[in-house]
Amino acid sequence: MNRPDLNFPATVLDVVLIGRLNRSNLTKPYSEADKKAALEALKAMGLGLEGPKDELIGKLSGGERQRVFIARALATEPKLLLLDEATLSVDRRLDTRFREFLNELKNKMTIIVVTHDISALFKYVDKIACLNRRLYYKESKQITQEMWMEAYQCHVDIIAHGLPHRVIEDY
């Protein structure tokens, strides 16, 4: 399948609105509710009213473009959100804001975050699973030292967040 064509004359808002497409609005224009949902998704990604909603998608930086694509996914109002290294090229401040936003969203949908970045394990997660060929899952918010060693064969001492929060148990 083809990748998004970045030279395409589509604005940021056009791209996010694609997330609102469905069978019931086929052949009809987007409703006001669709536009509102799209703008809200953009705002959640830090690309609000003052943001580049009328800018061409190809003119954005890589990080901004990634945020637009996440906004498009959010605009679909999914029941399950799978994020695979979703905020990799996004700056730290927005990353924190994004986590807070996910925390609000998690009452409405199941969110699975996949990451290689240990510090990206954030305080809002409910369950953590480690994956390295095998899945290590204990239905808890904590990773036990054995789980960690078994999965990754290395020690981790501390993971610091804004508020001290322990995801690795004492050893």
Partner: protein
């Protein structure tokens, strides 16, 4: 023998058939109704499949519309130059216009302008009309790309 410019225009206009008008109507209506879907599948077909849209059907409709346009244009400029006439107005208007919808109107307006200029040019220079329009369009394309 000399015929006046308005007469040339009338002769060219008289080449328009009912078939052209029907195809034009089909084109405008289909694009009008399927605009946002066409935008979605042209930009990112993979994502357009997620809301279970009939992506392949829409894609084939798009190809059919392109085929209709080509059929109409071939009669104007012939097989070889049809690509130039099909792409140049769009390529020029994308320089100035950001939104797809506005770009469509811009490209149509440019095509109209090219056609009128072309009729006049080939009338005063007595050059073959099909080639003249493409030379004209290509000249505009290169000039606008060099300047903006």
């Amino acid at each position: 023998m000399s015929i006046s410019l308005p007469t040339v225009c009338l002769i060219e206009l008289s080449k328009t058939t009912d078939c052209d008008v029907t195809l034009d109507l089909i084109l405008v209506l289909t694009v009008g109704f399927l605009f946002k879907e066409l935008l979605a599948i042209s930009f990112d077909r993979e994502f357009a499949q997620t809301p279970k849209l009939p992506v392949n059907l829409i894609y084939y409709i798009l190809l059919t519309l392109v085929a209709f346009t080509i059929v109409m244009l071939i009669r104007v400029v012939g097989v070889i130059l049809v690509m130039a006439l099909l792409t140049i107005p769009a390529a020029v208007s994308v320089i100035f216009i950001k939104r797809l919808l506005h770009m469509m109107f811009g490209a149509a307006a440019l095509s109209l302008l090219f056609m009128l200029l072309w009729l006049w040019l080939s009338y005063v220079t007595n050059l073959p009309s099909g080639a003249t329009i493409v030379i004209l369009a290509a000249a505009v394309f290169f000039v606008t790309h060099a300047l903006w």
